[in-house]
């Protein structure tokens, strides 16, 4: 009896995963990444003659809940039209029964890789503020990401910052309607996805595919309440915790950073205060909203006092000096020059 090698098995597995794009307008080009729920391929949209990313389940025959989750992810993305969130183009079902959706193909680097070329703290903080903008937009549309981490942030080749992988996203209210339901004309509506090929229309999942007690997320980045599986009680402050952990990663490049490990990072006092407030174990002690967190970081960048930290007089002076350093040095140089002129005149 001859056994197959690991390499052969892996090759066979990959071959089995290759999506059957028959009947769709897409042509497979290459596989780019594997996520928690599926695999991402680069495909060519033959109708529009452009490259797009296609996300599909790992293997045919995956259970219905997972299929619904992928559809949900596409629907969540479709409602979030923001420059910091990757736009979804299409959703449907392949000939082999697997659910897929296509989205903009982002050429760039994952945040953790990108940071290797960004040394300046202020540049890193500006990236963080842009991540906050995208997450705040999602929260304004009642969507929680629930899996914010460096691997889910992409920085495009033109410096654009995109929040990816909304597979664990939670809708804060029952806003996803079945197509037959009548919607408030002023409300955001999910249209039934326009199907490509033999797409499966009409089966919209519920607002949250994750049941109470289920733990989903990334250790070190998910909030304590998310770790405890308190899915029903999660709100914007859970994502704020993840943003705090992300802030720590941006400032220290420590991928194993975790509030649970509680090792105090070497940060500027004000930045540490922002980080601590964002990652407070009790949600009530955190920033109430993402814009408030972003505002504190922006204030820090502008050399203004932040709300998370009450500074002493000495700290105020230090901040004033940092903010107006060049100007203070110019005035100092001027006064010194004045003293020297007087000194030499009286020699």
């Amino acid at each position: 009896m001859k056994f197959l090698s690991d390499k052969t098995l892996e090759h066979l597995r990959e071959a089995a995963e290759i999506p059957d794009l028959t009947g769709t307008r897409y042509r497979l080009l290459e596989r780019v990444a594997r996520g928690g729920m599926g695999v991402v391929y680069i495909v060519e949209d033959e109708r529009l003659q452009r490259r797009v990313a296609l996300k599909v389940f790992d293997a045919p025959g995956a259970d219905r809940d997972l299929a619904n989750r992928l559809t949900r992810e596409a629907l969540v993305l479709a409602r979030l039209e923001h420059p910091g969130i990757v736009p979804v183009h299409d959703v449907g079902t392949l000939a082999d029964g697997r659910v897929f959706y296509t989205m903009k193909f982002v050429q760039g680097q994952r945040l953790d890789k990108y940071l290797e070329s960004v040394a300046s703290i202020s540049d890193r903080l500006r990236i963080f503020v842009r991540i906050c903008d995208a997450v705040a937009f999602a929260h304004a549309h009642l969507v929680l990401h629930r899996d914010l981490k460096p691997a889910n942030i992409m920085v495009g080749s033109f410096g654009e910052v995109l929040v990816m992988d909304w597979g664990l996203a939670k809708l804060l209210e029952q806003q996803v309607r079945r197509p037959t339901e009548v919607a408030d004309p002023d409300d955001t509506i999910f249209e039934t996805p326009t199907q490509a090929g033999n797409s499966n229309a009409g089966t919209l999942p519920t607002s949250d595919a994750t049941g109470h007690g289920t733990v989903m997320g990334t250790p070190g980045y998910m909030s304590p309440e998310q770790e405890r599986g308190e899915i029903e009680h999660l709100d914007a402050r859970s994502d704020i915790f993840s943003l705090g952990a992300l802030l720590r990663f941006l400032l220290t490049s420590d991928s194993k950073a975790s509030a649970a490990t509680a090792r105090k990072p070497r940060l500027d006092k004000a930045l540490y205060a922002i980080y601590s407030k964002a990652t407070a174990p009790n949600p009530g002690d955190r920033y109430p909203s993402v814009p408030q967190l972003a505002e504190d970081v922006s204030r820090y960048l502008d050399g203004l006092p932040i709300k998370a930290h009450h500074e002493s007089f000495i700290e105020k002076l230090g901040r004033f000096y940092r903010r107006y350093r060049f100007f203070i040095l110019l005035i100092g140089a001027y006064l010194l020059m004045r003293v020297l002129i007087v000194f030499f005149m009286h020699r």
Partner: protein, 118 residues
Amino acid sequence: MNKVLLGLLLGAALGAIDGGTAWFTPAVRSMMVGIIVGSTIKGLIAGVAAGVFARKVNSVPLGILFGLAVGFVLAFLVAYMQHGYYFEIILPGSVVGMIVGYATQRYGVAPAPASATR
């Protein structure tokens, strides 16, 4: 603070300090008030000019150069009228112009664009 007001206040303050240092020159101590007033006006003019320039041109190096030039010209005129103390007047006057030119570019707030109306 808007660029012109910042230039005006900073120019006047630095001009007054500039004039006040004349106290260390005993020969002109009797004319202190006139020197301080004159120097304040000189700084004020340089500051306003730098502020107006900063509103038109958004460039720190050009702002510094412009401030330097205005400070130099004004200080030269003052020294010329004094018939002396060229170095003691022109050098600090030019530096004050530079500082004001930098500050108006760097810290002055540009006026908000007028909203479009029909």
